[in-house]
Amino acid sequence: ATQTTAETVLRVIPHADLKNLDPIWTTAYISRNHGYLIYDTLFAMDENFAPQPQMVEDWTTSEDGLTWTFNLRAGLKWHDGAPVTAADCVASLERWGKRDGMGQQLFGVIDSLTASDEDTIVMKLTEPYGLVLESIGKISSNVPFMMPARVAATDPFEQIEDYTGSGPFVFQKDEWVPGSTVVYTKFEDYVPRSEPPSAAAGGKVAKVDKVVWTYFPDQTTALNALMAGEIDFFESPSNDLMPILEANPDVTAEINDPLGNIGFARFNHLLPPFDDVAVRRAALMAMKQEDYLAGAVGDQKFWKTCYSVFPCGTPLANDVGSDIMSSGDLEAAKAALAATDYDGTPVVIMQPTDIPLLSAFSLVTAENLRNIGMTVEVQAMDWSTLTSRRAKRDPVADGGWNMFHTWWIGADVIDPMAIAFSGNPEKGWFGWPTDAELETARSAYAKASSLEEKQEIGRKVQERLWAIGASGELGQFFVPVAYRNNVKGLIKSPVQFFWNMSVE
């Protein structure tokens, strides 16, 4: 194809294959990243984790804190040319509120949400709520992306089939090859904010004509493609490839997400032996973060031990109760286990062999638990089997489980609202810890307004989490990005954004 002006293309290896195009329906990070390319948000989090207006021009809060009024920026357009209206945003928020955890919390206190005119959204609350902006400016899944009202009308449990957004890029459905390629082109009519970009906030200026995601299932091939110049940007190269990348003068490799990921070992609180808090705590004592991080991540450049349940380096990070893991005393762990009623019941660990990091975590845990005298059975499966099996509350004999491992991106566990910290077995996350005290502390957080208050609640929540041995925190690790030196304008953020990036 001949073109009058050379088209600039950013060729990207995304961290995963884009399977779903509905970032409200799924929580997959890849769908979220896709969402950021084609959708815009009312508010967005800046690099200090503070919500900033994005589609919103200005907003007011009533004295009693119950009425919030948001005015949209002028000139916002959907990709099909229609103007973005307040009604579209209301519909989008409502759909999101049915899927997202924080959204559900927020809608729990919303009395009414209406569009008072083309550009104005009015939100009335039943009681004051401290996290309104944090919720609608949420940076990670599910991000309240704005969609046209006709799209937002889709049942929240069904996927959308119209991919019109108002973000800086346009999704090219015809060029989409699931499992391989996704193509986005610059949205010429997008009006960025004038502020400089700061994480998700600030001006989203598309500096390339096209962004092409090509998924590589094989890390080695991906690495080779980047080094051979067939690709510009490699979103999540394995840490172990760093020496090669660093040795290559044409390529820059760096850590882009300041919060990194948090390794997470999850007990099933419903089944023996981990239905006994003493056994859980004994197990935690045996789990040394260094083993996990060195074993699974490798080079120490890419990891830090962190015994706070909130990512180290974020406002709520603290060290209450964390000595249970940080002391790392094997003999004490053995003694602690001996003091329990543990009867040798085998611990079934689900090992997702298609995810090397988690596979390694599983093996390290197995070894640690065996070291203190537990019987361990590692069951290998792929991640999708794991995801369906972990939802089972049945006994092990009927397909239940005792432990699995995963990680959260730092931004997902930044405050007590995170579902990872739930203490309500009905609505909580897999593993189902039960602790009313924890739940009380968590719900207080939504109403806290000052940072001190929030930090206090954070400490309380953490104290409970360690006390009940909810899960193992396996430390903080950082996944680098790698790109050819001609790529400029990367935004430091827990989420990968593609605006502001240019290819020279």
């Binding site: 094989d218 890390q219 080695t220 690495l223 080779n224 394995s238 172990d240 490839l241 020496p243 090669i244 260094e290 083993d291 060195a294 074993g295 699974a296 490798g298 090992q351 062999t353 298609d354 090397p356 596979s359 390694a360 093996l363 390290v364 197995a366 070894e367 590692v378 069951q379 290998a380 499966m381 792929d382 999708s384 089997t385």
Partner: protein, 295 residues
């Protein structure tokens, strides 16, 4: 009737020289079988007794991860600091077990179905259509699907590899049965009132043994390869049990920085499969089951 005795004596002297040389000595005289067999025997001995002398293949040592081969760690270490040498030696057990188990099971099931299909007209069509169906599904896909759907354990891997191998054995056995059942000596046995099961065991089954032995070696070789490919694609033996396939699979990411993780199990696998194939070829030439070659 006097002249008949003379005829008998005449040819007796000629014939007595033509003693059956014996399959065993023929096999030993075949260079391919000898060398392939020796190599295989060596690998088998290493696999059986080797793990007694090596380090623990599962011992983690994060400090020593991704170390290149050296005097202490002969084959280097992997991303969890495990000793590749110990893992490769141990992995040999798994590969051989998978290879042999698949070969034995496929041959037993295939033999049974093949005999039935070859002799029972009514079931022939049904069995062969099912076999056609199984054969038309690419083996690797079927195995991946079966394993990732039903969970990866040694036994599911063996089952998943066995299923697509069965049709080949069935076709082979059936072809032998269809040829042999037309042989005059089988018809003579029928005319002599021998019952069907006896005919099968006495006159037909022995003819399938030579081609089956040959086929079994090929099945064994291909099963070991399939296991490694499944392991490589992440759908093989669970990584807690080292097998050549999953060692390589885990080393996939590190191919550029630590090629030894793939290199050593790769060599071990290629050599073992080569040895099995060489033995198979040698057996084929010795036993010359023409049908096997045509399969």
């Amino acid at each position: 009737m006097t002249d008949t005795n003379q005829d008998q004596l005449m040819s007796d002297s000629v014939l007595s020289q033509r003693e059956d040389p014996g399959v065993l000595s023929m096999m030993l005289n075949n260079r391919a079988i000898f060398w392939g067999g020796s190599l295989l025997l060596l690998f088998a001995l290493i696999a059986i007794f080797g793990p007694l002398f090596t380090a623990d293949p599962a011992a983690l040592n994060p400090i020593k991860r991704l170390k290149p081969p050296s005097v202490e760690i002969w084959f280097g270490s992997d991303f969890l600091g495990r000793d590749i040498f110990a893992r490769v030696i141990y992995g040999g057990r798994i590969s051989l077990v998978v290879g042999i188990a698949v070969a034995v099971i496929a041959v037993i099931i295939g033999l049974f179905l093949g005999l039935v299909a070859g002799y029972v007209r009514a079931l022939d069509a049904v069995i062969m259509r099912v076999m056609d169906g199984l054969m038309s599904i690419p083996a690797i896909l079927l195995a991946i699907a079966l394993i990732s759907l039903s969970g990866a354990t040694l036994s599911t891997v063996v089952i998943a590899i066995v299923i697509p191998e069965i049709p080949r054995v069935v076709r082979l056995v059936r072809a032998v049965v269809l040829t042999v059942r037309e042989e005059p000596y089988v018809e003579a046995a029928i005319a002599a009132g021998t019952r069907l099961p006896l005919i099968m065991v006495r006159h037909i089954l022995p003819n399938t043994i030579a081609p089956l032995i040959v086929q079994a070696t090929y099945v064994c070789a291909s099963a070991m390869l399939t296991e490694s490919i499944l392991g490589f694609l992440g759908a093989g033996i669970p990584p807690e049990i080292p097998s050549w396939g999953n060692i390589m699979s885990e080393g996939r990411t590190y191919f550029q920085i630590s090629p030894w993780i793939i290199f050593f199990p790769g060599i071990a696998l290629a050599l073992t499969v080569l040895a099995v194939n060489i033995v198979g070829d040698g057996l084929r030439d010795t036993l010359d089951p023409r049908i096997a070659r045509k399969m």
